[in-house]
Symmetry: C2
Subunit: 247 residues, 2 copies
Amino acid sequence: MKSACAQQVQSLSSGKEPLPEPCAACAARVLSVCDAIDDCDLDRLAAITSVQDIARHQIFVTEGDPADHLFNVTDGTVKVYKLLPDGRQQITGFLLAGDFLGLSFLERYGCSAEAVTRVRCCRFPRKQFAALLTDFPGIERRLLGIASNELAAAQDQMVLLGRKTARERVSTFLLMLSRRAARSGGTTDPVILPMTRTDIADYLGLTVETVSRTFTQLKKGGFIELREAGIVHLSNLSALEDLSQGF
Amino acid sequence: MKSACAQQVQSLSSGKEPLPEPCAACAARVLSVCDAIDDCDLDRLAAITSVQDIARHQIFVTEGDPADHLFNVTDGTVKVYKLLPDGRQQITGFLLAGDFLGLSFLERYGCSAEAVTRVRCCRFPRKQFAALLTDFPGIERRLLGIASNELAAAQDQMVLLGRKTARERVSTFLLMLSRRAARSGGTTDPVILPMTRTDIADYLGLTVETVSRTFTQLKKGGFIELREAGIVHLSNLSALEDLSQGF
DNA sequence: GGAGTTCCTTGATGTGTCTCAATGGTTAAG
DNA sequence: CTTAACCATTGAGACACATCAAGGAACTCC
């Protein structure tokens, strides 16, 4: 089970090949508490799970709508964002394979979500999911852990948005993607950017132009290399670490 | 129990009068799940609770330290913040009476915490608290709800820091304080600011000077009145709402 | 009462990032 | 092959906010 899941994480998120077959990996992720997973529990969760394929640029969760579902991304990249009335956009996070969406237990979605690439994910109806929680308190602890991590990430992002310069923001962003790829079993060095410069700007609280200028600045400084589109080579990781902290 | 708690919330956070007596209100807050509170549970939680008085400007939680305790603020105002190596500060939130601190279930504290005013709070040792969770799964759900709310607030703050102008930030900040006071049974109109302009700046991702200038600008525009120090009258609430959203 | 400290405000000036505008590259459609 | 759409990059100029500097109000401590 574990290996199947890892395999899926590896699979591309940009190409044209068919997406991998649906699997119970998402259910396993939800249930992956410290102790061993009971096959019975797994089946029960799998029973309420449905697999969903989402086309590029499709908005599949809208801020303010009733929060009917909970998602686990299996493949691809999702951007989660909020809008101001005049259209200004702030991306609050990018979701990669393995990440959860909508696990806040509020009435309505707090953010919208759009597929940056083609996306495959598992979907759990919230009501039925909530029923599971009463039977398996372990899941609640697991969710609490996930929420804790998200909160910590949000606080780091506040530091970035409130106090870091453009160069620090972009460096931090590249390192974050690198670490996340490594954590999912990928490589740390060539970082893949499935999102556009505009998306990066909306995530970092900058404009496209500033992001683009900062990339070329980092390139000229010998910190990164831009060869193919959507791929960044981190030439000097430790120097980039310093940059991201303002040294 | 409820009324005693409300009383406590009302009590000043800046003066010299003695702080109110410790009470089981914090324990009640933790246990206040949907269903009625069992006195027995309450006693058990109260047994591991200790009351802590914290002097103004005292740092009582430091980022990176082992997360041994969980706090519930009973009285006063706390600022929660992160620092960059060169001293730049980002305040991730202000805690008022009733708010929790350190409920993330990570190994170490993600932020530091400093008493803005004199503060009284209840403290739970994490280990013993965790033991309680296994016996009362309801608490976990409650914590999940709290974490959800914090996450939503963090996302709003990201929009503020990433996309709002100085005027929009300050307006949003004043309205937030107003709403929180109202929610705790206080008044919505004269908003009390226990923190300094510098703290507000570090929360809003601005400088002291910009915050100060924005206050006078709002005053001249007839949106607020500044009479006594630390108190802001919101003359035109709906106009302020518009300002905070960029209309 | 005087001295020191902290906090708030205001002015003058600087600058990092935004805005506006143009270009070329790439991809998709006809 | 042509056209359109989107995306990334770069330049010139503008502006919101930062920085630097100074003064006054409130408070604390002798």
